[in-house]
Symmetry: C2
């Protein structure tokens, strides 16, 4: 409690906390020192109009409320005491509600309008930041305000209900139990879509996480992907299954964590502005551009999950850590879309960290760190981390078959939205597709259409396409980077990841959410999203 003799500024706050923060006025003395000390100057331009400053201030408040919510989530996933869930739930609700209120306030619309002329002026004078900020913010504002709050409340209440019933239904493998509620989800998903202009009902739902994409644009790549993938998977699984024995044994979590730390540091994850912790389910989160954290999970009796979850999340984190700092605390300070974000996690996890070149550098290190791998050949290790084995469960799937799981869900949700597939017929349709695409018999709905939470906690439509869009884009970006930088494999073999990361920074990361994914991709690769590089990659890797 007597913590004041210190050179650390932050201790000033301790005193406030020491006398309990909830009680004493937060406006006097020490806590206001904070404000004055640490509120950074957001304004990077001279002589900006007051309404511009007000807009930045407002957006910064919203960003901080969301950042605080993200911190509260992170803490919950990593450290929260078991008996603290109730208070935490309320805090998360409050932060989310206030962020929404502050962002959708009519004043924001005024500020957007009143800054239009200033932004165009700056644009003509060579600074596109204000105009990009207005454009992106207007798009977000529009999305956030088109939906009546009456609908939101109704939808939230439905989601709460179906989520609980789904948990039971999945436990009992009883689709019938949740089917009536899923029909209501379908109605609500259609109603939600109806608040937005659209050609296909799923367009607005897709747009909410993959801005600018539509059913038509996604189908244009997904259909040919399926045409190519189904026979490729069939071909690969007819070969003898690679052994995963090298990855079984005892691998202490401490050693696995240390090795993952070394690897993600090597690809450029900046630990001075981030952390890696354990959680039940891996994720990346950021509270500000200078605080981008990842979580991992792993088991002592298996080598792989911890390492690849670290590489995956570090891929997401590289993106956020390298966004233009000028975008801090605005809607531009995030990834461009779900698909573009996923392209980075997949690129670093799969195209880099499952490649022979990567392991020609790291294999001696992994052998050094884990004695049981010393008797394993590099070829067998590579085969084990890349083995293809059909599975019923999406989240267990390997790099090659994963997309088939996504395509099945994407197609079925469109059919439901279009009225071509009745909810009650979902299990049959699901099982038929697992048979035709993966050659698997689904034994029960728990391992079938009840496995994913998505439809049972949100809309039908829009939640799955990003995973596969990301895989496709990763290959296109990798190919372009390789054309620009020369043989990336020889870099990887030497442990050099800087050139690829810097290429991604200058072509993708730094732009944050300032460009639509479509424009970003054309700018980075010279052409729109296309399937060819991904198919070439998969065939080169798996059809050999």
């Amino acid at each position: 409690m007597d913590a004041e003799n210190t050179d650390d500024f932050w201790m000033v706050s301790m005193r406030v906390l020491c006398v309990p923060l909830h009680k004493f006025p937060p406006c006097f003395c020490c806590s206001s020192v904070f404000l004055a000390f640490k509120t950074p100057k957001l304004l990077v331009m001279q002589n900006t109009p007051p309404v511009w400053n007000e807009l930045l201030e407002r957006l910064s408040e919203v960003a901080d409320l969301r950042g605080a919510g993200a911190l509260a989530h992170w803490d919950q996933a990593t450290l929260l005491p078991p008996g603290s869930a109730s208070g935490r739930g309320r805090m998360l609700g409050t932060l989310s509600k206030l962020a929404h209120e502050r962002f959708t306030d009519a004043r924001v619309r005024d500020l957007l309008d009143q800054n239009e002329a200033f932004a165009r002026e700056q644009h003509e004078a060579g600074d596109s930041f204000p105009l990009q900020l207005l454009t992106t913010t207007r798009r977000d504002f529009d999305k956030a305000t088109r939906v009546p709050s009456e609908f939101e409340a109704r939808f939230a209440s439905h989601c709460a209900q179906i989520y609980n019933v789904w948990e039971e239904a999945r436990r009992e493998s009883n689709f019938g139990k949740v089917a009536p509620l899923l029909e209501k989800t379908l109605d609500l998903s259609r109603e939600l879509a109806s608040f937005f202009p659209h050609e296909h009902l799923a367009d607005p739902l897709i747009d909410s996480s993959d801005a600018g994409e539509t059913v038509a644009s996604v189908r244009a790549v997904f259909h040919p992907l399926r045409e190519a993938l189904v026979p490729l998977v069939r071909e690969v699984i007819e070969r003898p299954l690679a052994s995963d024995a090298p990855l079984r044994g005892h691998f202490s979590l401490a050693a696995q964590g240390a090795f993952a730390t070394e690897a993600i540091r090597a690809i450029g994850y900046d630990f001075s502005r981030g952390r890696m912790d354990f959680s039940a389910h891996p994720f990346m989160t950021s509270f500000a551009l200078d605080d981008v954290r990842i979580t991992i999970r792993g088991e002592e009796n298996e080598w792989g999950e911890l390492f690849f979850s670290a590489m995956h999340e570090a891929g997401h984190a590289l993106y956020e850590q390298n966004i233009d700092p000028r975008f801090e605390a605005t809607p531009l300070a995030s990834g461009a879309s779900s698909g573009v974000h996923e392209s980075q996690s997949r690129l670093w996890e799969n195209l880099v960290a499952r490649s022979p070149a990567f392991w020609s550098g790291f294999f001696p290190r992994v052998q050094e760190a884990f004695p049981s791998l010393r008797d394993v050949s590099q070829a067998n290790f590579l085969a084990a981390i890349n083995r293809v084995k059909r599975s019923l469960i999406r989240t267990d799937a390997d790099e090659l078959t994963y997309n088939l799981h996504v395509l099945i869900r994407f197609d079925l949700e469109l059919e439901m939205l279009e009225g071509k597939l009745a909810v009650r017929d979902l299990p049959d349709a699901w099982n038929a597709r697992y048979k035709s695409d993966l050659g698997l018999d689904v034994p029960d709905d728990a391992r079938g259409c009840l496995q994913d939470v998505h439809w049972f906690s949100g809309t039908i439509g829009g939640a799955f396409q990003g995973y596969t869009l990301g895989n496709i884009l990763a290959a296109q970006l990798f190919e372009t980077a390789q054309n620009d930088l020369g043989d990336l494999n020889s870099h990887f073999a030497r442990g050099e990841f800087g050139p690829l990361r810097e290429w991604m920074t200058s072509h993708i990361y730094r732009f944050g959410a300032s460009l639509l994914p479509r424009d970003l991709i054309v700018r980075a690769t010279g052409r729109p999203l296309e399937l060819a590089p991904y198919l070439a990659y998969l065939k080169g890797k798996f059809a050999a």
Copy 2:
């Protein structure tokens, strides 16, 4: 990123986080599931008027914003990556500002007025909660709104400035460098006091952390305390200094942490609703009544600091963990005052954990955990943890001399406020008091009047009295509990702390901030704060 196959509800949120939270509308789907799932019902009464519900809702928002700020502080003190300070500072500023705005809004005043009749009605029907809530909230609201925001901004800006200069001045031991700014602090402290009714200028400053106390009421116990303490200290330090050799050696932090965990669990700290972590400076903080955390610090080459910081902070935490759950998310959900809070940290740290009875139970355990203590006698161990040694630095002081440091500061700040002591004469006055009260020569201002951050980051007046009020109150409460419960020492010797903790819960903790400290003390002990039990305790322990 694929974290959906789970029985853990909270994973629903992960998906939102996985696609970066900053980007996508927080109002759809999963994030709204949250609101519906987890917003607990705050309303504990049937058929409450809508304005009552609105008041609870508003207070809950403020509590959650403060709780989120406290979490952001805690994370900063325990885990924050070194490069993340800027974003965190902004987040803290935003949360503090919004909490203040939401609380001081004119609507809160309306809600207080409109609920008056309802609260009186409930009170007459036997439920005093609504009326207590109105009373405490009105008091806090009044304090928070009397100060013009123009003044707050001016004061915050001054605090930022003087804090930076103080850091340099302390490093250089150059009081002259910061003296002009300290004069301005004095003016601002007087101005702040002027916004409140008062007899003495320091009254409102004291009241802000020790509600209901005044210069007169504090002096009434502090003067006789000094009269008794100065000769007692003189007597004690003339005896041979106890050896602290038993506490020197190598004590791994892991073993110290495990032992502290065992001890605070024994006194009743509930780890299912809290955590203990390391930080540069120990503190207790709470984000909700079900999430009350403590931090500790320690060194491997010394036994004591870690253990006693844990007991101290656990004392604070026992208080907050045992507040009536009905007070959750209201201004009642905190301690009654700085002094009452401190009484609990001091009680568990000093009256319990430095007592012979405590160690008659725990000494075998500490010997088991730390081999080097096996050759130490219990008497020598007790002498070492209770040794009295005058020091120049308040935060290094032992239990007996600590209060003299506080009394010096309290007297000098009143003299400055009264205009009897010029700021430029502070070092001389300080040094004279250290000589007369502690018999020490102050070699430089760094180890003199520049040592504490309080005057250099907040007001002159009001920051110190709580420490000593807490010590005095601790003895009075302990004595009363002992009268009620019988021989507490025999409980402690058997490792039984439940009776004392439950007595504190029923007499102090559960009331939270629903009563003024004065009323709380009379209710708990049958009389106002008095010095006799504390002097008896000190004499019994140290004058022997």
